[in-house]
Amino acid sequence: MTTNVKTDLENKGRSRLTVGQKPRWTWAACLAGSAVVAAAVLALIGFNVAGWAVLTAVLYVASMYVSTVVLENRRKATNGLWTNLVFGAFVIALLPLVSVLWTVLSIGLPGLLAPGFLASDMLGITGAVDQQSVNEGTSVLGGVAHALVGSLLITIGATVISVPIGLLTSIYLVEYSRGGFFSKAITFFVDVMTGIPSIVAGLFAAGLMMTLVGPGTNVMGFSAVLALSVLMIPVVVRSTEEMLRVVPNELREASYALGVRKWRTILRVVIPTSISGIASGVTLAIARVIGETAPILVTAGVAIQTNWNLFQDWMMSLPVYIYRQMMFPTAPSAPDASEQRAWAAALVLIIIVMLLNLLARFIAKAFAPKKSGR
C-alpha cells in the first residue's frame, strides 16, 4: 500500500531525464541508410563487397554523429563518435589478424598434421625426396624438430640473460637513481639500443664471439643468444620501467614505514604489484625476438639435425627454417613441399608464442593485485 502511494511520486512517462533523447531506432535507421547510400555510390564506380562494407561503416559513424548532434547535443554525439571509433579500431585490428591466421592455417595446417612433422628433422630430406612426394602425392617428409629445439633453446637463453638485466636495470632507474647523470645515460642508451637493427645485432654478436673463441667455433646457438639479448634487453627495460613507475608511492611508503628494507620492498611489494605488466612486457619481448630471422642466421647458422648444445655446432631455428624453406626450397622444381613445411613451421611458432602468452597471463593472474575497484 505504501508502495502504491510512493509510486505516485513518479512522473510517469514524462521523465525529464529522458527528454530530448533520440529515438531508440536511430542506429538502425542510420545503418540501413548508410548501407543503401554506400551501395548506390559504389554502383556508380564499380561495386565490390569490401568497399561497400568500408563505406557503409564510415557513413554509419558519420550519420550517427550528425543525427546525435541534431537530435541531442554535441557532447553526446562526440561520446558516441568516439565509442564507435574505438569499436572500429578493434574491428580494424582484427582484420589483418584473421587474414594472416587464415593464410597460415590454410597452408600450414596440413603440413603440421603430416605424420611426424614435429618429431622429424631434415636429415635425409633432399630435393629428390620432395619431388617424389609431390609427384606421387604422398605426404611431405621432413619436419621441424631441430628448428623447434633450436628456437626454444636460443630464446630461453636470451630470456635468461635479458630479463634479469632488463628488470634490474629498470629497477635501478625507477627505484634507486634520483635522476642523476648515470640514470639519464642509461635511459638514453636504452633508447639507442631499441634502434639497433636486428641484423646489426647479429653481426655484432658474431663478431664478438669471433674475437672471443676464434673463427669457426663462433657459429653456435650461444652467439644467437647474445644477438637476441641485445634486441631483447631494451624492450624489457622500457616496458618494465613503465610498469614500475605506475606503482603508487603510497605502497612503497607503507612498506618503508614498517621498517622493510628497500630491496625487500621492491621484491615483495613493488614487483608483485606490477607483475602483470612486467609479464606481458617480457612476453612481448620474447615474441619480438623469437621471430627474428636475420640475426640468428648469421650467428647460429643453419642445420638439418637436432642440436641440443648451445655452445657447439650450428643450430637451426624456426624463423630461419621458415625463411630458408620459403625462399630457397629444398627442391627448386617442386617448391610446394617446402612451402608447406614453411607455413607449418610458422604455425608452430605462432602456437609457441600463444602458449607463452598464456603462461604470462597465468603468472599475472597468480600474483596480480587483488583489485576491488576502489
Partner: protein, 259 residues
Amino acid sequence: MSKRIDAIDLNVYYGKFRAVADVDITIEPKSVTAFIGPSGCGKTTFLRTLNRMHEVLPGAHVEGKLLLDGDDIYAPGVDPVAVRSNVGMVFQRPNPFPTMTIRENVLAGLKLNGQRISKGDADAVVEKSLRGANLWQEVKDRLEKPGSGLSGGQQQRLCIARTIAVEPEVILMDEPCSALDPISTLAVEDLISELKEQYTVVIVTHNMQQAARVSDKTAFFNIAGTGKPGKLIEYAETSQIFNNPQEKSTEDYVSGRFG
C-alpha cells in the same frame, strides 16, 4: 620499550622550500603527544621526519638534530631502516597492499623482512593485532580475502593493525581516525591509551576533542601564510593548551566551536 624524542632546531625542506622551521620539542616516552594546527602548517611533514620517511621524497631533506633516546637519527651512518622499525607509522590515507590478503597485510612488516614465524605464532599475531585495531570481528572469516576489498574505515584499521604487529617503540599516526566511524574511533583511542603504557605515541589530528581525550601533551603548529614555513607555536600539557594557552593564536584556534 618506549623512547624519548628530542628535536633540536629542526628545519624541514622540500627541495629549496622550507616547510617547517626551527622546531625544538621534547616528546616524553610512554606518553601520547598530539599535533594540531591548520591545514598546510606542516604537521604531516614534521611527523614524517620522526621516522625518516620524509627523505623518501626526492629533494626532501632535513637540517638540525633529531634524537631518539639521545641518538641522532640523522647522524651519518644511521640506517633509516633501523629507525623505521623502531618508529612505526600509520598514514592519513589507508594504504593496504593490494597484492596481499588481509592476513598477509597484517603480517607484512614481519614477513616482508624475511622473518620466519610459525603458523601458530603468525595466527596469534594476526588475531592480536586485528583485535587491537578493532577489526577482528569484521574480517575474521575473510582473512584470505584481498585487503583492498574493505571499506575505507576497515582499510585504515587494517593499516593500524599492520603497524601494531611489528611492535615498534614509537608509533606515529597521521590523522588515523579521519576515515573512521565513532565505534572504530573509540577503539583506536582506547588502543592509543593502551599503547602508551608501553610505547611513545605521536598523533596528528584535526579533532580537538580527540586531542583533548587521548593526549598528554599537545603541540600547536601554525603557518603565517602561503609559502611561509610552518612553526611550532606552543607545546604544553594538553589541559594547558586547551584551557589556558599562552599564545593568542593557540587560543584562537582551540576555542573554535569545532568537533
